[in-house]
Each structure stands twice: as structure tokens, then as C-alpha cells.
């Protein structure tokens, strides 16, 4: 379980998160939605220890992330896989090498075993055919699928997604969404997704948290979040319709 308590994070010029608290439940997909630039990616980076909050506590399976030393932080990170916004594949490696890299680095598997595992995960995300392609030859959606395979290869307990569908066309978004859904149903992995894509949220979320005014203002079950009385509905669906109507008139 990931427990975030009273986390405050500021860049030198502006505060981003203030007393933010949220619990990420086991085997569930929690989606954090919020407007662009509100601090969703910063929250993910704080959870993974890439950014250090000024105060607060982040506990992953009983281990404190905030203030953890290098060894402890690396031990915690082995439990986490993360999909970055653009995939963050290594340019100098092909698809196979990208997915095999964490395995070759951390495990003493034979070459045959590494190949077997990489093939299995590339099959899972439907990218086996592109195994020898370089990242520059892949579309945005394909890059993200490979990045998910790479994030999954060490079999982490937690999978974090940073804007998994941003900048993708509807067809590529649907492919990524379906893959996330399949991982969710087949592996029952604990997932945390940050996005402002309401369609993705509706498709994959078990629970939805709304990040606004530097903190989580509501955490609701999916059905509840999409009811007309919910803050999520008010901020993301009704507000969008309102703006469209105002601009049309």
C-alpha cells in the first residue's frame, strides 16, 4: 500500500503541493485527475523519490520514502514500475534491449531466460514484431507500450502511469487504454494513474482522486465520481460543457 500524508512540495518560485494526503489501495487502479500543470507528475516523482518533498510522509509497504538513503530508496524503487509521459525509452537501444535492460542489470538470469521473459512481456503488450526496431522508428503509442513492458519486466508491485495517453491520437489512446485494462484484469497489479483524460479515467479507474488547489480534494469510487453530484463530474464534465456552450454562444 502507498500512503501519502501531508506532503508539501515547492519549486523555488512556487508551491505545488500543500498538505496533500492520499491512500493508494492494493490491487486497485487509482486515477488522480486534475488540470494541466497542477502538480500531478510532481506527486508521482515525490512518491518514487525522484523529488524530495519539503515535508510530509510517503510510506510504501511500511518503508518511508521521504528522506530515505540511496540503498533504501533503490530497494523501494524495485517494487515500482513507471510509465513516463513520452515513454523515456533509451535511444541507443532497440526495443528488445530496452525491455531486457533492467532484467540484465538486476537479475543473474541466463541469456536464454532473459530472452524468454522479454518475449513474454512484449507479447503481453503486443510489441513482439517490433523487437528489433529503434525507439525513433516507433509511434507515440508503440513507445508507451514498450515502456510498459519495460516497467513490468521486474514484476513490480506497483505500476505508475504519468499521462499515458497525452498527445496520442484516439486510436493509439484506445490501444494504450486496452493494454492497461488487460494488465489490470490479468495481473491485478496496484496502479496509480495521473491524467486529465476523462475518457481514460472512465475506462480504467476503480477510484478517482481530484487534485486541485495543491491537494487531493476528493477520493471517490468510479460510479460515485461520475454521478452528477460529484466534484469530479462538476470540474471535468459539466465545466467542459459549460465552457463549450459559452464559447458557442
Amino acid at each position: 500500500m502507498i500512503r501519502v500524508r501531508d506532503v508539501c512540495f515547492s519549486f523555488p518560485e512556487r508551491p505545488v503541493l500543500e498538505a496533500l494526503s492520499v491512500d493508494i489501495g492494493e490491487s486497485l487502479t487509482t486515477v488522480i485527475i486534475g488540470a494541466s500543470g497542477i502538480g500531478k507528475s510532481v506527486l508521482l516523482k515525490c512518491i518514487t523519490g525522484l523529488l524530495r518533498p519539503q515535508s510530509g510522509s510517503i510510506i510504501i509497504d511500511g518503508d518511508e520514502v521521504v528522506g530515505a538513503g540511496r540503498h533504501k530508496l533503490y530497494a523501494i524503487r524495485k517494487k515500482i514500475g513507471m510509465l513516463f509521459q513520452e515513454g523515456a525509452l533509451f535511444d541507443s537501444m532497440n526495443v528488445f534491449e530496452n525491455v531486457a535492460f533492467p532484467l540484465a542489470y538486476h537479475k543473474s538470469f541466463s541469456t536464454h531466460e532473459i530472452e524468454k521473459r522479454v518475449h513474454a512481456y512484449l507479447d503481453l503488450v503486443g510489441m513482439r514484431e517490433a523487437m528489433t526496431a529503434m525507439p525513433r522508428e516507433l509511434s507515440g503509442g508503440m513507445k508507451r507500450k514498450v515502456a510498459v513492458a519495460r516497467a513490468m519486466i521486474l514484476e513490480p508491485r506497483y505500476l505508475l502511469y504519468d499521462e499515458p495517453t497525452s498527445g496520442l491520437d484516439p486510436a493509439s489512446s484506445a490501444i494504450v487504454e486496452s493494454m492497461m485494462k488487460r494488465l489490470q484484469t490479468e495481473r491485478a497489479i496496484t496502479s496509480l494513474v495521473v491524467t486529465h483524460d476523462i475518457d481514460l479515467t472512465r475506462f480504467i479507474a476503480d477510484r478517482i482522486a481530484l487534485l486541485e488547489d495543491k491537494r487531493i480534494v476528493t477520493l471517490e469510487e468510479r460510479d460515485q465520481a461520475f454521478s452528477e453530484t460529484s466534484a469530479v463530474y462538476d470540474h471535468f464534465i459539466e465545466k467542459r460543457e459549460r465552457i463549450r456552450q459559452e464559447n458557442a454562444s
Partner: protein, 239 residues
């Protein structure tokens, strides 16, 4: 970055594969620039040496003087400057782009230390490759000088090479290779450090790259001068 380099240098697992890749890459990328520099220097010194040698009727001695100047100073300094321009900037841009696209964060999240995987292989490859490239550049420069002196001033290769072997035993030639390794270390660590500290977009990356080449050229000239002075004071290289 200097502290990081020594901290991670002796920690497991040593990135052997990455080191091999970087050695091949550095040799291939810097080869053309350094060989062209060798040709230009060989031709220039042959022309100047032959011209002035002719004026003082010592043109047959020009070979040893040209070789001494080339090997002791010229190919070391200009070669290192070319190396800084070609490889130093490549390191900065590459690591800066990795920073920009989240690849360094991706490494950290895989519990892989970027300093160990990215910096150590590049710095060691630079230290190994610059002396090798200098040796090749020396051969090219000497070959060019032999050809030019023969063509322009009629100095036969046999006469050119007559006193060269005495020059090649001179200790300053050995220390010039040590100087190259020290310069390669500074060039690579500075370039990697600037790439790591980079933040921002394309404009900032351009500025960081310019900073990398300027800093490294100053470092190369400084190290060369300091080494030259120390050489003279301590008498390491004086016959």
C-alpha cells in the same frame, strides 16, 4: 561530478558492455576529425620547417624537428581540442537530451545509478581512446610531413627518418600521452557533468553545449600549459 565519478568507479556492477560500446563509438566519431587535424599539422610543419631549414641550409635536419614538434606538443594540444569539440559536446548533448526526455529518471526508477551506467563508461572510454587517436594522428601527421618535405623540398624519406628515432626516445613524447589521458579525463567529466546539470528545453541545451566546448577548450589549454611548466621545472622530459 568528479566526486561521483570516483565514488561509482569502484562499485559493482562495472558496466563492461557499455564501456566497450563507448570505446568503439568514441574512436569512430573522433577518428575523422583527428586524422584531418594530423594531415593539416603534418603539412604545415613540413612547409614551415622546410622553408626555414632551406634558408639556413639545414633542410635535411627538418625531419627530426618536425617530428619532435608534432609529437611533443602540436598533436597533443590540437588533438585534445578537436576531441573536446567532437566528443565533449557529443557527451553533453546526449546526456542533456536523456535528462530532457526523462531517460535518466527512468534509470533511477529502475534502481540503476546513472553516474555508474552513463558517466563511468564515457570517461574511461575517453581516457583510453584519446591516446590511441593521438598515436594514429601522429602517424598520419608524420606520413604527411614525409610526403610534403619530399614533394616540396626534395628531402628523401630516408634522410627524414635518419634522426627521427632519436627523437622518438625523448621522454617528452611519453609524457605527451600521459597529458592526453589527463585532458581526456577532464574533458569527459566536464561534458558529462554539464549534461547532468542541464535543465530546460532546446535553447538551454544549446547554451549548455556551448558552455561545454568553451570550458573544455580552456581546460585543455590550461592543463597543457601547466604540464609544460611542470615538465620544465621538474626536468622529467629534459634530455
Amino acid at each position: 561530478m568528479y566526486g561521483n565519478f570516483f565514488f561509482w568507479l569502484f562499485r559493482e556492477p562495472f558496466p563492461v558492455g557499455q564501456l566497450g560500446q563507448q570505446i568503439v563509438r568514441v574512436i569512430l566519431e573522433a577518428f575523422g576529425a583527428m586524422m584531418i587535424t594530423g594531415v593539416v599539422q603534418g603539412g604545415l610543419f613540413a612547409w614551415l620547417g622546410g622553408w626555414d631549414g632551406g634558408r639556413f641550409s639545414v633542410v635535411n635536419w627538418t625531419g627530426s624537428i618536425v617530428v619532435y614538434l608534432l609529437l611533443s606538443e602540436s598533436t597533443t594540444l590540437l588533438g585534445s581540442m578537436m576531441f573536446a569539440a567532437r566528443i565533449g559536446t557529443a557527451f553533453t548533448v546526449e546526456i542533456g537530451s536523456m535528462q530532457m526526455s526523462g531517460q535518466l529518471d527512468a534509470l533511477r526508477l529502475m534502481a540503476v545509478e546513472p553516474s555508474q551506467q552513463i558517466v563511468i563508461p564515457r570517461v574511461l572510454a575517453a581516457i583510453i581512446c584519446l591516446p590511441i587517436l593521438k598515436a594514429l594522428s601522429d602517424l598520419v601527421a608524420i606520413g604527411t610531413a614525409i610526403a610534403c618535405l619530399n614533394w616540396w623540398f626534395g628531402v628523401s624519406p630516408t634522410i627524414f627518418l635518419q634522426h627521427v628515432f632519436e627523437v622518438l626516445r625523448h621522454p617528452i613524447l611519453t609524457t605527451s600521452y600521459i597529458r592526453c589521458m589527463i585532458m581526456a579525463f577532464f574533458i569527459a567529466v566536464n561534458a558529462c557533468g554539464l549534461g547532468f546539470s542541464f535543465q530546460g528545453g532546446a535553447v538551454e541545451l544549446g547554451k549548455t553545449t556551448t558552455k561545454s566546448i568553451v570550458i573544455n577548450l580552456i581546460v585543455v589549454i590550461t592543463v597543457d600549459s601547466v604540464f609544460g611548466v611542470v615538465d620544465q621545472i621538474t626536468g622529467w622530459s629534459v634530455v
